[in-house]
Amino acid sequence: MKAILIRMGELFLKGGNRYIFENMLVSNIRKKLEGLSYKLEKTQGRLVINNYENEDELIERLTKVFGLVSISKAEEIDATVESLEEFFGRYKNLEGSFKVEVKRGDKRFKLDSMQLAKRLGEIILENSPKLVVDLYSPQIVFKVDIRQNGKAYVFDGNISCCGGLPLGSAGGGLLLLSGGIDSPVAGFLMAKRGLKLEALHFHSYPYTSPEAKQKVLTLAKKLCAYVDSVKVHCISFTKVQEAIHANCSPEFMITIMRRIMMRIAETIAKRENLGCIVTGESLGQVASQTMQSMTVTQNVVDLLPVFRPCIAMDKEEIIKIAKDIDTFETSILPYEDCCTVFLPKNPVIKPKLEKTEAEESRLNVQELIDQAMATEEVIEIKK
C-alpha cells in the first residue's frame, strides 16, 4: 500500500511535554489537509499517512506545515522478512549501481539492520544480474524503515519540508506588515518557530492608494499557505503623519512615526493576548533601521519583546526567502506605502532619545494614538 512517511523536526529535543507538541502538530496537519481524504497514524517518532488520493496536493500542503523536516513517498509492507523478500523480489532487470539502507525503529525485528540489508540486496541482485552494489555513490537507493507499528516502509528519498516548530506552539505575535519585501519574510520566519501571526498594517489614505492596502491583504493571503489564517488589523495613519509633519522637524518624521506605530502595535498586541511584536527590520538597511533608530523606537515598547528575524540578513537573502514563499512578486508592486508619504530628504540616521522625545513632546501622542485606534478595521484572511 502507498504511504507517506512524515518526519518531525526538533520535537525530539522536547522532554516531558513532547506529546503536547506532537498533538499540536497532528492537529495542524489535519487543518492543513482539510478537504482531502486520508488516514493519519502516529507511530513512534514518525507520522504515517495512507489511504489517500490526490498525492501531489497532499505533499504540496505537507511541505508547508511547520514542524516537519521531511516526508517520503513510501510503500507500506508488513514488517516480516517474508513480506520484504516478496516485495523486493518484484524488482527485475534493473541496471546501474545500488545499495540498501535499513533502519530498525523496532529492535524486536528478528534480523539486525546489516543482515536485512544484505538479504534484500541478494534478492535484488538475483533478479537484476546487470546491477552492481555501490555503497558510496549508488544510482539507486532502497531505504527500508521498520517501525513499531508492525510495518516496514520502503522509499528512495526525502522531500524537504519547512522545519521549525508547530504553528501556535510558541504563542501568538503581531507582525508589522508594510507591503514591502521584508515584513512578510519576517512573519514567515517567526511562524516557522511556532508563532501564530496576526498582522498590523498602517495606511495613509488618501495619500496611499486602495491598491496599496489590497497588496498587504494579498501578502497576508500568501502567508496563509503556511499559517492558515491571519487577522489583519488595518489602521489609518493619516492624521498621525499630518500631525508630525505639521509640528516636528522633518528629519524626525520617520523616527517619531515608528515610535507611534510601535505604541499602537503594543496596545493591539496586549489587547489580543499576543506575546511579541515582529518587524522586518534589517540592520542598517535604511535610516530607520540603524541600531540607534531601533533603540529609540524600541524604547516606547513597555513590556513585549520585539523580534526582528531579518536583522542579520542581507537584502539578497531576504529576497531569496520572499521568492521561495511566493511573496516577492506582490511585494514589488509599485504602490506607495505609508512610510514613503511625507518622506523627508534627510532623515536622522542616529537619533538621540532626548532629542526625539523633545520633538515628540510637541504632539499629543496619546490623543493621536486614540484617534488612529478608532480607525481600526479588522480583516480575517484565510487560506
Partner: protein, 370 residues
C-alpha cells in the same frame, strides 16, 4: 457625485443600453450563420458600417470593428508594418496603445522616430519634415489628446507627409475626438482612424478602425475571416449596434458649443496662481497642474463628491505622466496633475460646483502637507 472623468470612460446612454440588450438577447444570432435570422443581423452590421463611415466623412474605404481602440491602434500599426528598411513616425503625445506598440517595434530593430510636443501639447509640426523621408512607411498622430485639450492639425500634417513620403500611410487615433469635435477623414486626407465606443456613451469592448484601402492592411490575427479577413472573430453584434446607437444620438456641433461653455465656467472658478491650467481646442478635457500637492491624493480626497483623474486612466498604474513630461513640464509639476473631462449632459451649475470643491480640497490638502 459629479463625474468629471469622461475621457476615461462614459456612462452608456439609455438607448445604447437598450440596443445592447436587444442584440444580446432577442437578436443574438451569429451573423456568419446561414439562416435568415442571422442574415438579418449581418445586414444590420453592414448597415452600421455604412452609417459609421458616413459619420466619419469618408467616401471611400471600410470600417473594421474591433474590441476597442487599443486593438484598432495595434491593428493600424502592426497591420501597416512591412519588411525592409522602412521608417515609422509617431507623435510623442500618443496614448500607450500606440506608444508602447511603437516602442516594441523599436526594440525589434525597426526605424522609429518621435515627433516632439509643444508646451501646449500639440505635436510640433514645424519639425515634422526632419522625421520624414521617402522611406517613411507609417505616420501616427492623434487628433485630440487624452491628456490635455490639445488638437493636432492633422490636415497640415497629412499635406506635409504626402509631399515627402509617397509610400506613407497616415493613422489617426480619434478616440477623444470622435463625436466631440467635428472632422472628416476625407478632409484630413488620412488612411486609418481609430475610435472607441465607450468614450461616447457606448459600450466598452467595442471600437472600430476606418481603413481607406484595406488591401494595404495586413491581418494580425487569423481565424474565420470576418471583417474582410483583417480581423477574424465573431462580431460583437451587441457592442457594434449599441455603439452605433450611441453615436447616432450625438449632435457634435451642438454639444461642442455647450461643453465650451462648461469649460469656460469651470476655468473661471478654478483659475488661481497655484494652478497651471492647460487647455486647448478640445473643450472636453482640461489638465490642471496644482502646485505643491500630489494629484493622486487630491483625486482620492475628492472621490465621494467629484470624480476626476490623475493624468490618463490607462497609464495611472505607472509613475509620472510621460505626455506632460514630453510637453516640457517637470516631474514636480506633473506630480500635481489632475485631469478634468466633461460630458455634454452636464450643466454649468454642476461643473461650477465641482470646480469649487476641487479648489477647496486642493487648499485643504496644500495646508495639510505644506
Amino acid at each position: 457625485m459629479i463625474y468629471l472623468d469622461n475621457a476615461a470612460t462614459t456612462k452608456m446612454s439609455e438607448n445604447a443600453l437598450k440596443t445592447y440588450n436587444d442584440y444580446a438577447s432577442a437578436n443574438f444570432f451569429n451573423p456568419s450563420a446561414p439562416y435568415k435570422q442571422a442574415f438579418k443581423v449581418a445586414m444590420e452590421i453592414d448597415d452600421a458600417r455604412q452609417q459609421l463611415k458616413k459619420m466619419l466623412g469618408a467616401k471611400k474605404g471600410d470600417i473594421i470593428f474591433t474590441s476597442g481602440a487599443t486593438e484598432a491602434n495595434n491593428l493600424a500599426i502592426k497591420g501597416s508594418e512591412r519588411e525592409g528598411n522602412w521608417e515609422y513616425v509617431f507623435s510623442m503625445g500618443e496614448h500607450p496603445s500606440v506608444m508602447e506598440t511603437a516602442k516594441a517595434m523599436q526594440r525589434e530593430g525597426k526605424n522609429v522616430f518621435f515627433i516632439p510636443l509643444k508646451k501646449s501639447g500639440e505635436a510640433n509640426l514645424d519639425e515634422l519634415e526632419k522625421y520624414l523621408s521617402p522611406k517613411t512607411r507609417f505616420v501616427s498622430c492623434m487628433l485630440a489628446s487624452n491628456i490635455t485639450g490639445a488638437v493636432n492639425d492633422i490636415k497640415l500634417l497629412s499635406s506635409i507627409v504626402r509631399k515627402h513620403c509617397p509610400h506613407a500611410v497616415i493613422h489617426v487615433d480619434a478616440v477623444q475626438a470622435f463625436k466631440k469635435i467635428e472632422f472628416s477623414v476625407d478632409d484630413l486626407d488620412i488612411d486609418l482612424l481609430s475610435i472607441s465606443g465607450h468614450k461616447f456613451h457606448g459600450p466598452k469592448g467595442c471600437g472600430a478602425l476606418y481603413v481607406k484601402n484595406k488591401a494595404s492592411l495586413k491581418n494580425i490575427v487569423y481565424g474565420g475571416g470576418q471583417e474582410y479577413g483583417i480581423r477574424s472573430g465573431t462580431e460583437n453584434v451587441a457592442g457594434i449596434m449599441s455603439m452605433l446607437a450611441a453615436a447616432n444620438e450625438i449632435d457634435t456641433a451642438k454639444n461642442f458649443e455647450h461643453v465650451l461653455k462648461l469649460k469656460k465656467a469651470f476655468i473661471d472658478v478654478i483659475q488661481s496662481n497655484s494652478v497651471k491650467v492647460i487647455e486647448g481646442k478640445n473643450p472636453y478635457i482640461v489638465m490642471l497642474l496644482f502646485d505643491g500637492v500630489n494629484g493622486e491624493t487630491l483625486v482620492r480626497m475628492l472621490e465621494d463628491e467629484v470624480i476626476v483623474a490623475k493624468g490618463s486612466a490607462c497609464s495611472s498604474k505607472k509613475a509620472g505622466n510621460y505626455v506632460l513630461e514630453n510637453m516640457g513640464y517637470s516631474r514636480d509639476q506633473v506630480k500635481g496633475a489632475v485631469r478634468v473631462s466633461f460630458s455634454a449632459d452636464q450643466t454649468q451649475a454642476e461643473v461650477i460646483k465641482a470646480a469649487k470643491m476641487i479648489k477647496a480640497k486642493y487648499l485643504e490638502l496644500y495646508e495639510r502637507t505644506k
